[in-house]
């Protein structure tokens, strides 16, 4: 077996959470659909079921293409979903005109676990 010179680049994330702040379906100049929403991820990091250590994280998510159309059509705020995707960096200009970066999740699969 040949060992590749460089290891493959892996970037995979799987999360469950509640959809909030779903935005409008938009299109780029190349007519590609995209949509953004937030995912409240409820984590219980230590003793299962205690509830005391539960933390809620709000994560920014974006979906593109046909997945964005599906989110716009089938996913509503408050739905509990299973999400697969990758971590990506996005830049923006802050009030001080400085370029800032943040990490968001680019979804590749979204499955509704509640109605």
């Amino acid at each position: 077996m040949t060992v590749p010179h460089e290891p493959p680049e892996l970037n995979y994330i799987i999360l469950t959470g509640t959809v909030t702040e779903k935005g409008e379906l938009r299109t780029t100049s190349l007519e590609i659909f995209h949509i953004r929403f937030r995912l409240e991820n409820h984590i219980t990091p230590s003793i299962e079921g205690s509830g005391e250590d539960r933390k809620d994280y709000v994560l920014d998510v974006e979906a593109w293409g046909s997945l964005a159309e599906m989110v716009d059509r089938d996913i509503r705020n408050g739905m509990f979903v299973l999400l697969e995707g990758s971590l990506v960096s996005r830049s923006y200009i802050d009030k001080m005109k400085r370029t800032q970066y943040r990490m968001v999740i680019k979804a590749s699969e979204i499955t509704a676990l509640s109605t």
Partner: protein, 148 residues
């Protein structure tokens, strides 16, 4: 039966360290290592040419994993990290609220080959008590440090 919805949070990401890891030992003796990795993703642009974009991800490791990171990892070291995405917030010196996403590493594979040895290192906290402990100290690696 009343069931809870499952809680899943898992990240698998590879990349190269963008600088030497920041390692320290907390007052309670727990080893902590913080690092940032660059994950390169290739894609074809409109003209069919391959392009590359980089995602920088902050990683936190604890205990034995942190010790081994300190021992084996340097700027440029390739690693595969398995962990969970966590959201950290704190107040900076100006009293402003700051936050960032980072990966809390459960398992790190060191992908660098040592000499002719083709086996890859594979280290994790493992076993009971592998949960991270709260870090009371300043997160110490503000977003500004990320080299992009």
């Amino acid at each position: 039966m009343d069931l809870r919805m499952p809680s899943i949070n898992k990240v698998i990401i590879s990349g190269n360290l963008v600088r030497d890891p920041d390692t320290r030992i907390l007052e309670n003796g727990t080893h902590l290592a913080k690092m940032s990795i660059a994950n390169n993703q290739r894609y074809r642009d409109r003209s069919g040419e391959w392009q590359e974009k980089t995602c920088y991800v902050n990683i936190v490791a604890w205990r034995k994993t942190a010790e081994l990171v300190s021992e084996y990892c340097r700027k440029g070291s390739p690693v595969l990290v398995e962990g969970e995405l966590v959201y950290t917030s704190w107040e900076d010196r100006d009293g402003s609220k700051r936050s960032r996403l980072e990966v809390n590493a459960r398992r790190i594979q060191f992908l660098e080959k040592k000499g002719q040895d083709t086996s890859y290192g594979d280290y994790s906290d493992g076993g009971p008590g592998g949960e991270p402990e709260p870090d009371d100290s300043d997160p110490g690696m503000p977003d500004d440090d990320i080299p992009f």
